[in-house]
Subunit: 211 residues, 2 copies
């Protein structure tokens, strides 16, 4: 309880920082390999001209994901947790001091690949974006309800793979809505861009530049 | 440190229980949806006649996986952790008292879907079996080195999907061997059974009935 209280205090501090600069902050959470970085690459490609992005990447080890984001022209800070299974507000606070957050921009924090622990640590974000890939099975919302409850939106990614899978996308969405009625659910593909425009409407409705 | 010490004490107690009854115990660890339960279903189908199985399933919520295992005729106990991101020796100890572990049998513990925390908690098992699916990307060994270091064997699953993916299976294996030289790596498909015979040789070399 004390760990979470200290975390929340710093998270609120982060949030004040975001709100002072009119920065919308998203906390992107999924299992390992669901396509968080691929989604970010696609969002930057499609929206990067009109919406300034900054990215904080979280992983136990490697600089891989931050390098992928820098390659598409966006400033990215890599946080390595060592053995930690989630990002916390202290790590984000430290990373913030190395980022130039433009006014009215979008900050995306890609969390450590893990459907459990990241859902419990507030970082100061405005929204948690949950991602489940079709390749993982339709039972994931029921098995990991904590994230679904706390998420503001669910992306079901890799829908380009549906022809090769026995994945029941309707059942997956129904499981999610049983846990979190009214949760916006978008079926997308980071690879082909399919379905992404509906998510962009959700995103741009909440970003500062368009308010 | 105290949590791990208490856990290790109980894990050694579990291990004494296994060794007293000549039971080989595996701890099956992967990301969510890599195919742990599908692999178990395949192993039971292929080996169940000659090797008695027992299974302990770990998930935050649902009875789904234990029900799948019972459907293929093997005794399975479901442990629900609530919000816990891994199984620990106490949960296994409690489950053991509900299982009839036949002499010279195989006990497989399917851990919570998570590439981080389960690798740190010894349950009393003889071997950790790591699973990475082709659908998750080739960088997983480098990003989650803790599990690769501690695993006795790595299965690269869902190789039937390779024609539809940009997954470099050689690179994935190389990353794993950089972290853990000499680690046995098997490329398999739970769906088609491809490559499984090599894993069965590894498994039966270590199981009691054939010793
Ligand atoms: N077919 C298909 N593959 C995808 C899609 N999105 C991502 N992938 C593939 O999935 C694998 C993992 O993608 P990443 O973007 O690295 O996933 P991630 O969630 O960022 O992974 P971590 O950061 O390690 O947790 C890669 O091989 C991608 O090419 C998609 O929409 N369709
Ligand atoms: N193509 C293909 N799909 C597979 C294979 N193994 C599992 N799957 C699919 O992958 C999804 C997840 O499989 P599960 O067996 O539930 O995976 P799991 O690791 O037990 O999942 P959790 O227990 O939730 O962590 C399901 O939709 C399976 O059909 C395989 O070898 N090939
Ligand atoms: Mg990533
Ligand atoms: Mg399973
Ligand atoms: Zn954890
Ligand atoms: Zn006991």
């Amino acid at each position: 309880a004390r760990v979470l209280a200290a975390n929340d205090y710093l998270a609120r501090h982060n949030r004040e920082h975001f709100d002072a600069h009119s920065v919308l902050c998203l906390n992107l959470i999924s299992a390992p390999g669901s396509g968080k970085t691929a989604l970010l690459e696609r969002w930057i490609q499609d929206l990067g001209e009109s919406l300034p992005f900054s990215v904080i990447e979280g992983d136990l080890q490697t600089q891989n994901d931050a390098e992928r984001i820098r390659r598409v022209g966006v400033e990215a800070i890599q946080v390595n947790t060592g053995q930690g299974c989630h990002l916390d507000a202290r790590m984000i606070h430290r990373a913030l001091h190395h980022l130039t957050l433009p006014e009215e921009s979008l900050l995306v924090i890609e969390n450590v690949g893990n459907l459990v622990c990241p859902a419990d640590f507030f970082l100061g974000e405005h929204h948690k974006v949950a991602v489940i890939a079709c390749t993982e099975g339709a039972d994931k919302p029921a098995k990991y309800p904590g994230l679904i409850e706390k998420a503001s939106v669910l992306l079901i990614n890799k829908i380009d793979m549906l022809p090769h899978l026995e994945f029941d996308v309707d059942a997956c969405e129904e499981h999610a809505l049983e846990i979190h009625p009214g949760l916006p659910v978008f079926r997308v593909s980071a690879r082909t861009g399919e379905g992404m425009s509906h998510f962009y409407t959700w995103l741009l409705d909440r970003s500062y530049p368009l308010k």
